[in-house]
């Protein structure tokens, strides 16, 4: 009998201090039955990846509004690979220009959610990708 829960790390890489979106999403995921590990502001790629490994999360959600995604995300993907954790689903949200999305997808970011996305859309995407959280559904 298994009692699996989807575990998600919500992280704010880099130097912007805007975490409203991250917190709203964290709360919505909690209500969807996920275990959300919130790590706070101004995280380095090393901090994020180490936390993801120690917490054995299924998903890393990166929230970024500073514009430094092209610099920080490749580093995060690289470290995940290094730490044998490339099976973790990486999604991103925040202010990310359309023309950067394809590049991010190429380095392994599974999906980029731009402003206006509903919390339900993100939650549904995660459930589709890593399986439902409901203990009754699993075997």
């Amino acid at each position: 009998m298994s009692d699996r829960r989807i575990r998600v790390l919500i992280a704010k890489p880099g130097l912007d201090g805007h975490d409203r979106g991250a917190k709203v999403l964290a709360r919505a995921m909690r209500d969807a039955g996920f275990e959300v590990i919130y790590t706070g502001l101004r995280q380095s790629p090393e901090q994020i990846v180490n936390a993801a490994v120690q917490e054995d999360v299924d998903v890393i959600g990166l929230s970024i509004l500073s514009g430094a995604h092209n610099h920080l995300f490749p580093k995060i993907m690289e470290l995940l690979e290094e730490q044998e954790a490339s099976d973790v689903l990486v999604i991103a949200g925040g202010v990310i220009p359309e023309q950067d999305i394809e590049t991010l997808r190429e380095i392994g970011v599974s999906r980029v959610f731009t402003p206006g996305t509903s919390t339900q859309e993100a939650i549904q995407y995660i459930e589709e990708q890593v399986g439902g959280s409901d203990a009754c559904k699993s075997t």
Binding site: G33, E35, A51, E55
Partner: protein, 317 residues
């Protein structure tokens, strides 16, 4: 999920963080392989010093944990942190935010931090914590800090797990009646008045000390009350010193063995409760399939099931 028990066990023993993390997930998810791996780590049980940290929400447990880990790292210890936050009773979801206060430790290879949801437990911890401690001990950490959920008054499960229990108080939460109530005021080996830079801290210290005067002395240890500011680090060195003193006193008096036995008893009872609860639920399902149960009479039905299940008596006499 296919797990190579031997390989996972070896990697945990070598201190590999990702493997320890995977093992704790198996434990939390009640996967049967978890038990197989844990059995290979049992020779390392008792190898770590276990420190419990409990207190009301917002009293600074995570911030203090962060500081304590820093102090222990400074003298070369390796540390595991199990930080428990509440799971929702309604959705099962949880927002685990203790790491927010421990960011500076995230890149230290001598530290392993794991956030855990209570997943239905009400005693301030998660059911999986017992086994998670065995897992972290198996990874060779010298110290394990277990941080409970923000407790109210009666969540004292931590006392059955830790060698040393720190109970946190902060100024402004109530009068002297709070200090003489039963519950968490009875389980502290060390009382910490945190946020001691705030007004009213020394008054709380006096109230707690007066109250402790009336406690029956527990062997050769009289719980001290320490003024600490986890934020600034004031009083931290003295606190660490007291923690060392407490552990030494426990070891020298033989009471450490008693504490460890209490942890063992808690584990055995918890395992049995789980087995029994599963068995009873199954039995009930089977019985109610065969014939209609009388839904008006829960006690009579329970008695009938109990009688047909077992005749366990006290101490197996």
């Amino acid at each position: 999920m296919q797990i190579d028990v031997k390989q996972l066990s070896e990697r945990v023993r070598n201190g590999h963080a990702g493997s320890l993390a995977r093992l704790i997930s198996l434990i939390e998810n009640a996967e049967p392989q978890a038990v197989e791996v844990l059995e290979t780590l049992e020779d390392r049980r008792g190898s770590a010093q276990i420190i419990g940290i409990t207190g009301p929400p917002g009293s600074g447990k995570s911030t203090l944990t962060n500081r304590l880990v820093g102090a222990l790292r400074d003298r070369g210890e390796t540390v595991g942190v199990l930080a428990v936050d509440p799971s929702s009773t309604f959705t099962g979801g949880a927002l685990l935010g203790d790491r927010t206060r421990m960011q500076s430790l995230a890149t230290d290879p001598g530290v392993y931090i794991r956030s855990m949801g209570t997943r239905g437990s009400l005693g301030g911890l998660s059911r999986a914590v017992f086994d998670a401690i065995t897992a972290v001990e198996g990874s060779g950490k010298t110290h394990i800090l277990v941080e409970t959920v923000g407790v109210g008054q009666s969540e004292i499960e931590i006392a059955s797990i830790a060698d040393t229990v720190l109970v946190l108080f902060v100024p402004g939460l109530g009068d002297d009646i709070q200090a003489i109530k039963a519950g968490i005021t009875e389980i502290g080996d060390i009382f910490v008045v945190n946020k001691a830079d705030l007004k009213g801290a020394s008054r709380i210290k006096t109230i707690l000390e007066n109250n402790l005067e009336l406690e029956p002395t527990n062997g050769d240890w009289k719980p001290p009350v320490m003024l600490v500011s986890a934020e600034t680090g004031d009083g931290l060195a003295e606190l660490v010193h007291k923690m060392d003193c407490h552990f030494r006193t426990l070891s020298e008096s033989g009471r450490l063995h008693e504490r460890r036995k209490r942890r063992h008893q808690g584990e055995v009872v918890a395992i049995l409760q789980r087995c029994l609860a599963d068995r009873i639920a199954n039995f009930y399902d089977k019985q109610s399939e065969k014939k209609d149960v009388d839904v008006e009479k829960p006690r009579a039905v329970a008695n009938a099931i109990w009688e047909s299940l077992t005749d366990l008596e006290d101490g197996g006499e």
